[in-house]
Amino acid sequence: MMIPADTPMSHDRLVQELDYYRRECNDLGARVLRLQEEQSRAFREARRSRTVARLIREAYKLVDRTNEIDEIGALMLDIIVNNTICDRAAFLQRKGRDEFAVTHLVGFEDERTPTTLVLPSAPLFFYTTSQTPMESPASELTRLLRLPYVLWAFDAGSAFALILGNRSEGNVSRPFEPGDQELIEGALSVYADIVYRKRTEGDLRAAKREADTARAAQASFLASLSHELRTPLNAIIGFSEVIRDQILGPNGKLKHQEYAAHIHDSGTHLLSLINDILDLSKLEKEGEIPLNEEGFDVTGVVDRAVRDALPIAQEKGLSVETSIPAQLPQLFADPRRIRQILTNLLSNAVKFTPSGGKIVLSTRIEDRQGLLIEIADTGIGMTAQEIPRALAPFGQIQNVYSREHKGTGLGLPICKALVELHGGSFEVASVPGQGTTVTIRLPPDRLVPSP
């Protein structure tokens, strides 16, 4: 039945209608309340599930924050309590069969803090709720944190354990449950992983420090030994020259002259060896060989190095050729060191190339790669395995060639180091029985543009 719009409603009718709307309002309100709560609960659970990922992500950043292992535990607990909002937390480390030492803890304010935990048969994972009977291990673990609700994980491999605790199961905390295993074990494994990584890094740093110290001691020893030997050797060489060349008058016997020549050769060789050792020890202590850099004509330096090598090459029946472009820009480098490199490499080439062989020294400008110097011979060559040994300091001293051929065995490492000191690269290519090619590249900024 329709009620006309202008008909006043009776009091009973109004009360009835008001009751209806109140009921409907309260029902709707109750549904809104439940929906809100369901949504909040879903958000809170989603937040907790994100906690594992967030905690692990934040924890791994500790790797870059500190090298102090002790500090990592504190920083890690900070991240754990910040993400889990727990009341107390501690890291422990197993020290004996049943004994753990507390290494880090948070949340005790001014209370007496626990230092040890005796826990027979430590479980890998454990938690307490209001339903948990107070027997081992619940009794020991709740006593440790002096809180009723605890969450525990133990990693037998690393001997680390982590325990979190709450005062209540309500408010922001909810009862611990099996699903929390992922959280606590994740946090513990990240901690163990970072500590292991930092320990390994620490060991490596210590080993490197020891190696550096040993190398510095070796270089220092060689330098002082070389200085000690060089002075008397200069005297030996000088006086043997006097005797050999009969500067003070004729020697009594031809043998005197011959022995003096032997003394002179041996002395010269020893001096060369000592000079190389001295160079090498300076090069190993980076930056100790200063470069006296200037712009100079490469062709002139190449010619002088070839001229030095030519007499012995000719004596062995070797041909030495050069290939140098006519318009080569000046090189900005240490000319004495560049000549030392070329002389050394040519000397090697002459030494290891059998009679009738050929040595070619060529230079050219390479696009964007600067100056290229190549010394190729048709000598005995090396295997691929022998090349790194020849480039290593003292490597060639133990090499069979060094015993057959006169030389210090330090030439190649010195040449390589000097080239690198100039910012260049040094490559060796070799085939046994066919020969060796040494390629030096000096960077473009070492070329002086033509005016």
Partner: protein, 400 residues
């Protein structure tokens, strides 16, 4: 006058104090400070270290379930925040009562009388008190008798009262305050700011009514026994569709509040018209619910309120923009954010931190310091009241 704020989330109290003091020391010697310290720190160690850095200046504030600054936000228990005040026209007047345990109203009166002795008309007064009275069973120091007593002691003087009930953590485990000289519990400290400092305050809400009006028909203190003649627990159980005897009754504080609408009861919804009370506990044996505050009386008309996270975020955004608009052109010195701990995402389930939203919306260079609190105190109509589930954003500015 100048203010500098420092923040830290450090494992060790001394390091936390040093980190907080850094930006303050950089400006020189502060004359006093406000400090909020996470409950996982030893407060005495923190205060000692802070004074070693800043000098033996008065420090007020207290425990905080979390701290809020531009440099960081958090509520894990290790957060600390300190504001240092420089070059003030006059030193602030600080008064303390350590007698909350003997009666909150009497303690409030003591504070109010001390403040009145300073001729405080027109002044801004900051109030910090320890919220937790006992832990087993949980009992709070209610803010409403404290504030009532304060106004009784104050007499006819008019002040702008802004404050916080402090907590050590989200689980209401403990609370303490810094009272200007040291750390104390069951205490309250009031700070009367210099005459040239004024306050503009915004109360940020987040609750909507989800019931018709109900009358409180039986109440004793904070214990509400009956609503519309029915046991209060029964009313809430009916609305929530749950048995409060079987669930953790503490969860109620995460779900619903009771709200009292001020002004015209039948006016359209306005969040500022409501004073909300969190529900601390439900007691199935007595059929009663325990509110955070004992200020609802017999005959009060209330509504069950739902905490609405979307509304909370919206309220924060609008309220922050509004206070910036109201203080535009004024000489803002520092902003203070007193934020109910229940609003933090871990408790409310909000998808974002509302304190983050506030910081993003507070587009100003003004220093800002805040805490996660148990109770917020702010002006509602003529006088200040303790509030629940709100955030109180205050801008202190110079001039009239």
């Amino acid at each position: 006058m100048a203010v500098r704020v420092g923040f830290s989330r450090s494992f060790e109290a001394g390091a936390a104090a040093k980190a907080c003091a850094g930006p303050i020391r950089a400006l020189g010697q502060a004359s006093w400070g406000i400090a909020f310290c996470g409950g996982k720190h030893n407060p005495e160690a923190f205060l000692k270290a802070l004074k070693a850095e800043l000098g033996d200046i008065p420090i007020v504030g207290g425990s905080a379930a979390g701290a809020i600054t531009r440099a960081g936000i958090g509520y894990g228990g290790l957060e600390t925040a300190v504001a240092g005040f420089f070059d003030m026209e006059e030193p602030p007047f600080i008064t303390v009562t350590k007698r909350l345990g003997e009666g909150e109203q009497m303690a409030g009166r003591e504070l109010g009388e001390a403040v009145r002795s300073q001729a405080p008309d027109g002044r801004v007064v900051l109030l910090f008190y320890s919220s937790v009275a006992a832990t087993a069973p949980l009992r709070l120091h209610p803010g409403s008798p404290l504030v009532t007593g304060f106004y009784e002691g104050l007499g006819n003087a008019k002040v702008t009262l802004i404050g916080a009930g402090t907590l050590t953590d989200m689980n209401l485990s403990n609370s303490w305050i810094f009272d200007g000289t040291g750390m104390t519990t069951h205490s309250a400290v009031a700070v009367v700011l210099p005459a040239d400092l004024c306050a503009e305050t915004a109360i940020l809400h987040g609750c909507v009514p989800v019931s018709s009006f109900m009358q409180i028909t039986k109440v004793h203190g904070a214990e509400v026994y009956e609503l519309d003649g029915r046991p209060a627990v029964q009313v809430l159980e009916g609305m929530l569709g749950i048995d409060l005897g079987s669930c953790g009754a503490q969860e109620l504080s995460l779900i619903a509040t009771l709200g009292e609408k001020h002004g015209d009861r039948f006016a359209p919804y306005d969040e500022n018209a409501y004073v909300n009370r969190l529900i601390l506990n439900a007691n199935p044996s007595t059929g009663s619910i325990t509110l955070f505050e004992p200020d609802f009386s017999n005959g009060a008309i209330v509504q069950v309120m739902s905490r609405d996270n979307a509304l909370m975020i919206e309220s924060v955004r609008k309220g922050t923009e509004e206070i910036l608009r109201r203080t535009a052109g004024r000489d803002g010195q520092v902003a203070l954010y007193i934020d109910c701990a229940g609003r933090a995402s871990a408790r409310s389930g909000a998808p974002v931190e509302e304190a983050d939203v506030m910081l993003q919306s507070f587009k100003s260079d003004m220093p800002l310091i805040g805490l996660y609190s148990g109770v917020e105190i702010a002006p509602v109509n003529a006088q200040s009241r303790p509030l629940d589930w709100t955030a109180v954003l205050t801008v202190l500015y110079r001039g009239g």
